[in-house]
Subunit: 343 residues, 2 copies
């Protein structure tokens, strides 16, 4: 974080024609973007959303309300523009980039539809209940794909990157990663995901617990990531690392993308400085992760869809904060340097 | 509220390709806009922000961190487009309409600047500490101007109207109105406003208390409104009434506009059905009002600026909710009527 740029932006915000601090979170947000971008004149002119998708072997064990085939079907919806994130990306004026890191059934993209980038590492992970979800080399390949996606976006002009994901079974994987990396009780960081309840919810907690016991010999972030998955989590961690290296703010979505942010923070602690939390999911592990990362979410709309929906909705908030810094008049403009509250 | 339209929208939302309820507040919001507009296909194609400004006689008693002249100066900023609400209206793609209900020093609007509509009832209210802020006829004229502004906007195509205000001393007036209409302790509904602290804050609470004692003989909503002011609060109550009559959703901003909404709800209880709370202000009276009105704010960004800043930031959220309903694919589209969670 460029503390000088952040301080200069904060001072400029204090000089705007308004009571001190009256723009609340937007003031801190504008200064944070300035610090990330390393300029007192931050900009959000070209926001992008990157959605990484992959399948999870653990989904075969009935931890989700949906079958694994839905991952591929949802990718079809991303391609056709009818999925929630497509609608929200258009609303936010954001470029939407979708990458397949390894879904079981790759989507059939028709001419004229949105491209789905082929970044397939393998056809879904193996079940972390039965063994390693992927090899270390595969985890590294997925992270490298994420870094490459960040470079692709930033080279294309992106100055704010929102994260999204798709993958049936992903909340089970994210709960296992969160419990393992933070040494938390699985029951505290496991939630309903797409909507499991009752006995199915108890079975999901038991599955997360079993994953932890199966891999209690795991040592270090890379080993935990490879053993538990998922391919899209690894890729999103790479996107965070790539954006951080390029000084581009990363807007987190829900529980899965924030798990990827935790992985990134373990691989490169300074990457936390580039993160902005878009939305708080009701998934219980999400608040735990944000607390550990020291991030306060901009929105709390009770969404638990993923796809990047929370990040997309937060884009106008970030853009507005930066626009206020750029476009509002100052007391100095009015020749009213002393027109400040004295109380 | 058209319960049939709201239910049809909710059913259509349930059929979208996503887990049931996974879009959280956005699902309830889309159904509410449907119920207000009286159609299962709600639309936010032409949002507007209306900012009403006026001066408050009580401001001469030192209840604000700023002198009264600032109201007129801020209107200049609304005209030139450099005020916060101007920036945020552009970001939201909203038409901005500013009306002068009675500022002490009317702004000098240069050619090419945004118009400030002349709806002046009188040059600021009298001090409610010393007598009636305005006459009943003046309060009625201000409410009528508000109804006329709503008609102007709706005739111009507006299908969502956000509220904003400007007036030094307005939080003192709003606290007095809230305490009087809800029979609450002034200390519980009085806050720092533009930034008063310490002894000045104690003096502000004492002023609100004195206003209440001065007018303890007030009877009924109109009498309380005329005695305590303000002109912009009366006009904004009229905007709410006018929008409700035209079935156009009204997006509330902070404490002042929500006080106007309370006044409207007392004059026409059904008008509450047309309200959407945009943002929760830290001003303590705001949460009290929203609770009484039964409204849950979309955003909590700690802003306490007014001007319509919170309403402007909420416009993309409302527009996104409606766009999801209109543009997302459904399970029926995919021939997957049974593809729902069974857990």
């Amino acid at each position: 974080l460029d503390a000088g740029a952040a301080a200069a932006a904060a001072a400029a915000m204090d000089g705007k024609v308004k009571p001190l601090g009256s723009l609340g979170e937007l003031e801190r947000l504008a200064a944070r973007v300035a610090g990330i971008q390393g300029t007192a004149a931050p900009h959000v002119g070209c926001p992008a959303l990157v959605v990484c998708a992959a399948d999870h072997g653990v989904a075969a064990s009935g931890v989700s309300a949906y079958p694994q085939e839905v991952t591929g079907l949802m990718l079809q919806g991303f391609a056709s523009g009818t999925a929630a994130v497509g609608v929200l990306a258009r609303q936010a004026g954001a470029r939407l980039v979708v990458a397949d890191l390894g879904v079981l059934t790759p989507p059939q993209v028709a001419p004229g539809q949105n491209e789905v980038l082929d970044r397939r590492v393998r056809a879904g992970t193996a079940s972390s209940l039965e063994g390693e979800a992927m090899t270390l080399a595969e985890a590294q390949a997925a992270v490298a794909h994420g870094i490459g996606l960040a470079d692709l976006l930033v080279d294309g002009g992106a100055d704010l990157v929102g994260l999204g994901e798709m993958g049936i079974g992903s909340t089970t994987t994210a709960s296992a990663l969160t419990a393992a990396l933070l040494e938390r009780d699985p029951a505290r960081v496991t939630g309903p995901g797409t909507g499991v309840t009752g006995e199915a919810m108890a079975a999901k907690v038991a599955a997360v617990d079993a994953i932890l016991r199966r891999h209690e010999g795991a040592r270090g972030t890379w080993d935990v990531l490879a053993r538990m998955g998922g391919l899209e989590v690894a890729a999103l961690a790479g996107v965070v690392l790539g954006c951080a290296a390029r000084r581009v703010p990363v807007l987190l979505d829900g529980f899965i993308t924030t798990t990827a942010a935790l992985v990134a923070s373990r691989l490169a602690p300074a990457s936390v400085d580039s993160m902005i939390a878009g939305h708080l999911s009701p998934e219980p592990g999400h608040a735990v992760l944000l607390d550990v990362l020291g991030l306060d979410p901009l929105l709390r709309l009770g969404m638990r869809l993923g796809e990047g929906s929370g990040a997309a909705l937060a884009i106008p908030v970030v853009r507005s904060a930066v626009a206020l810094l750029a476009e509002m008049g100052s007391f100095a403009d009015l020749g009213l340097a002393e027109e400040r509250p004295t109380a």
